[in-house]
C-alpha cells in the first residue's frame, strides 16, 4: 500500500510542476498580450484560447498535490470529536465516494477526449485541438483517485482494528 501511495505522491509532485509551468505560461502570455496590444497594437493571437486551455491543464494537474497537502477546504471540527473507530469508518465512506467521483471523471474525461478527437474540434482563432487537454484532464486525476483509494483501504483497516 505504501508503494502505491509513494507512486501517487510522485505523480502528484510531477503534476504540480506541470501546473507551475502552466501558471507561468499564463502570466507570460497575458503580459505579452498586454504589451503587444498597448505598445505595438499587435496582441497575442488567440491569447484567451491558449490561456483557457493551459489553465485547465494547470489546475487539474494540481488537484492531487493540493489533496496531498489537505489544501481542499473541508470541515474538520466535527470529525475530530468522533472516536477513532467511527472516524476511520467515516473516512472510509468519504474516500470511497471520492474514488467513485474521480473514477467517473477519469473515464468520462477520456471519453470526452475521444469525442473531441473524432470530431476534430479546435479553438476558433489559433486552431488548438481540444482533445489533448481532455486526455490530460483524465490523466491528471489518476493520482487523486489512487490516493483516495489508498485512503479508503487504510481507513477500512483502521476501522477493523
Amino acid at each position: 500500500m505504501q508503494f502505491i501511495r509513494q507512486w501517487a505522491t510522485r505523480l502528484s509532485i510531477w503534476g504540480e510542476w506541470i501546473g507551475v509551468g502552466g501558471i507561468l505560461i499564463m502570466v507570460v502570455v497575458t503580459c505579452a498580450d498586454v504589451l503587444g496590444a498597448k505598445l505595438f497594437t499587435t496582441p497575442v493571437p488567440g491569447s484567451t484560447e491558449i490561456i483557457s486551455l493551459v489553465q485547465v491543464a494547470a489546475i487539474v494537474f494540481a488537484v492531487a498535490g493540493t489533496q496531498r497537502y489537505k489544501g481542499h477546504i473541508s470541515v474538520e471540527m466535527f470529525i475530530t470529536k468522533m472516536s477513532p473507530r467511527i472516524r476511520s469508518m467515516v473516512q472510509a465512506v468519504t474516500s470511497l465516494l471520492g474514488v467513485i467521483l474521480f473514477s467517473l471523471l477519469i473515464y468520462e474525461g477520456f471519453q470526452l477526449g475521444n469525442r473531441y478527437l473524432e470530431s476534430g474540434e479546435v479553438t476558433a482563432t489559433v486552431q488548438i485541438p481540444f482533445y489533448p487537454f481532455a486526455y490530460a484532464f483524465s490523466l491528471a486525476l489518476v493520482p487523486v483517485a489512487v490516493m483516495l483509494l489508498v485512503d479508503f483501504i487504510e481507513a477500512m483497516k483502521k476501522a477493523e482494528n
Binding site: V20, T30, A62, H72, I73, S74, V75, M77, V90, T94
Partner: protein
C-alpha cells in the same frame, strides 16, 4: 419524488458529507451528480459532471483568480510584507499602540496586493507579532489585532471573494473591486480607533512605538512607493480601462515578480515555493467553483431557488427584515463553513431573492464580504484565528478569539453602516463606471 424534496435531501446529504470531513468541492460535485442523475437521468448526469468541470476549469474569466492569487504569493515571497510593516511602523511613530496601528496599516497595504484574509494575516503576522511581543503588547491584544486586521484582505481589491461572487452573479469585477475600497478604508480607520479605544480604556497593554523624524517617515513612504505603484499599475489600470481584470491580474503577478527580483528578495527556492503555493490555492478555489457549478445545476432542476424567491415574496416581512435574516444566516453559516465555500454553495440559491427585492447586486456583494470578514474571526471555525495560532502556538486559541472581540464590534458597525447607507459602497463604482 417531488424535485424540491430531492433538492432538500441533497442539501442534507451535502451537510452530512461536510460534517464527515469530505472536501467541500468533492462533496458538492458528488451530491450534484447524484441529485441530477436521479432527477434527469444518469447518462446526462455523467456527461454534465465532466463537461461542466472541463468547461469551468477552462473558463477564461476565471483566470483572474489564478493570476491575482499568484500576485499575492509573489508579493509575499518578495518580502513586501516586511517593508510594508516597517514603513507603517515608522509612519505610526509614537502614537499610542503604535505597533498595533502599524499592523493594521500594513494589513490594509498588503490587502491591496493580496486578495486573501489568511494570507494577509499570516504574512503580516509573521513580521508584526514578534515585534509587538518584544515591546510588551499583551498576547490577546496583539494576536486578536492581527487576526482581525488580516480580514481586510478580502475587502480591499484584489479580493478573491469579490471575484468569485462576480463570476457567480455575472457582475462586473471592476465595480465590485471599486465598491470594496471605501468600506476597506473606513474599516481600517475603525480598527485603528478600536485599538486606540482599547488602549485608552486601559483594558490591554499596548505601549507606544518609537518616535521617528519627518525625514524618516518620508523615507519609509519612499521604500513602499513601488508597492503603491504595483497597485496603481494593476488595479488602477483596470479602473482606468487600460486593461481587463484578467490582464490587470497578469500585470500584477508579473509586477510582483519583477519587484522581488529588483529587491533581490526572490531566490529560486522562494520563487518556486510561491508559485506552488499560489497554484494550490488557485486549484482549491477553482475546484470549488467548478464543483459548485455541478451542484448549482442540480439545484436549478430541483426548482428550489425559484421556489425560494416565491416563498420570500409571500413573506409578510419588509425587505430589510429579509436582508437581516439573510445576514444572520450567512453569519451562522460562516461560523461553521469556510466563507468561500459558503458563498459558492448559497449564492446560486439566494441571489434570485436579492434581485427580486431590487437590491443592488454590487452592494449585496460587499455585504456578503463583510459578513465573511466577521466569519473569519469568529469561533469555532475562524480561519484567521487558526492562522495566527499557527504563528503563535503558545497563545491559547480562546485568548486570540477574545482579542478579536473589540474588532468584531468595528466590523458590525461598518456592516450596519453599509446596510443603512448603501451609497458608502455604491458611490465609487458609480464614479468609476458611470
Amino acid at each position: 419524488m417531488d424535485p424540491v424534496v430531492v433538492g432538500l435531501l441533497g442539501i442534507v446529504l451535502l451537510l452530512v458529507l461536510f460534517l464527515f470531513n469530505m472536501p467541500v468541492s468533492f462533496a458538492m460535485a458528488f451530491v450534484g451528480f447524484v441529485g441530477f442523475g436521479y432527477l434527469v437521468g444518469w447518462e446526462a448526469s455523467v456527461s454534465l459532471l465532466v463537461s461542466d468541470l472541463f468547461s469551468m476549469l477552462s473558463n477564461y474569466p476565471l483566470n483572474v483568480i489564478v493570476l491575482f492569487v499568484l500576485m499575492g504569493s509573489f508579493a509575499f515571497a518578495a518580502g513586501m510584507s516586511g517593508r510594508l510593516y516597517d514603513s507603517a511602523n515608522k509612519l505610526a511613530g509614537k502614537i499610542p499602540a503604535g505597533l498595533a496601528v502599524a499592523t493594521i496599516l500594513a494589513c490594509s497595504g498588503f490587502a491591496a496586493i493580496c486578495g486573501s484574509t489568511a494570507a494577509t494575516a499570516a504574512t503580516i503576522g509573521r513580521v508584526s507579532l514578534p515585534e509587538m511581543q518584544r515591546f510588551g503588547y499583551s498576547k490577546r491584544m496583539s494576536t486578536g489585532c492581527i487576526a482581525s486586521a488580516g480580514s481586510i484582505g478580502i475587502l480591499i481589491p484584489p479580493s478573491t471573494i469579490f471575484i468569485v461572487y462576480g463570476i457567480l452573479t455575472e457582475q462586473s469585477i471592476g465595480s465590485l473591486f471599486a465598491a470594496g475600497i471605501l468600506p476597506g478604508i473606513v474599516l481600517t480607520v475603525l480598527f485603528i480607533l478600536t485599538v486606540l479605544a482599547v488602549f485608552a480604556l486601559g483594558h490591554d497593554t499596548a505601549p507606544s512605538g518609537q518616535p521617528y523624524s519627518f525625514l524618516d517617515k518620508l523615507r519609509a513612504l519612499w521604500r513602499i512607493a513601488d508597492i503603491f505603484l504595483l497597485f496603481v499599475l494593476s488595479i488602477g489600470g483596470m479602473f482606468l480601462g487600460w486593461y481587463s481584470p484578467n490582464q490587470a491580474a497578469g500585470v500584477g503577478a508579473a509586477g510582483a515578480l519583477i519587484l522581488g527580483l529588483l529587491h533581490r528578495e526572490l531566490t529560486w527556492k522562494k520563487f518556486f515555493d510561491a508559485a506552488r503555493e499560489g497554484l494550490r490555492t488557485s486549484c482549491m478555489i477553482m475546484m470549488l467553483i467548478a464543483c459548485a457549478s455541478v451542484f448549482g445545476k442540480f439545484m436549478a432542476v430541483t426548482t428550489i431557488p425559484a421556489n425560494l424567491s416565491i416563498w420570500v415574496s409571500e413573506l409578510q416581512l419588509p425587505n430589510i427584515g429579509i436582508m437581516a435574516l439573510i445576514c444572520v444566516f450567512f453569519f451562522i453559516g460562516g461560523c461553521f463553513i469556510d466563507a468561500m465555500a459558503l458563498i459558492m454553495l448559497t449564492i446560486p440559491i439566494i441571489y434570485p431573492v436579492i434581485l427580486q427585492m431590487n437590491y443592488d447586486p454590487v452592494w449585496f456583494g460587499v455585504v456578503i464580504v463583510l459578513i465573511s470578514q466577521i466569519a473569519v474571526v469568529t469561533p469555532p471555525v475562524g480561519i484567521n484565528v487558526y492562522v495566527i495560532k499557527g504563528i503563535a502556538p503558545g497563545v491559547p486559541i480562546e485568548n486570540i478569539f477574545r482579542g478579536t472581540f473589540p474588532f468584531l464590534l468595528a466590523m458590525v458597525v461598518l456592516l450596519m453602516g453599509v446596510l443603512i447607507f448603501p451609497d458608502l459602497v455604491l458611490w465609487l463604482p458609480g464614479i468609476l463606471n458611470p
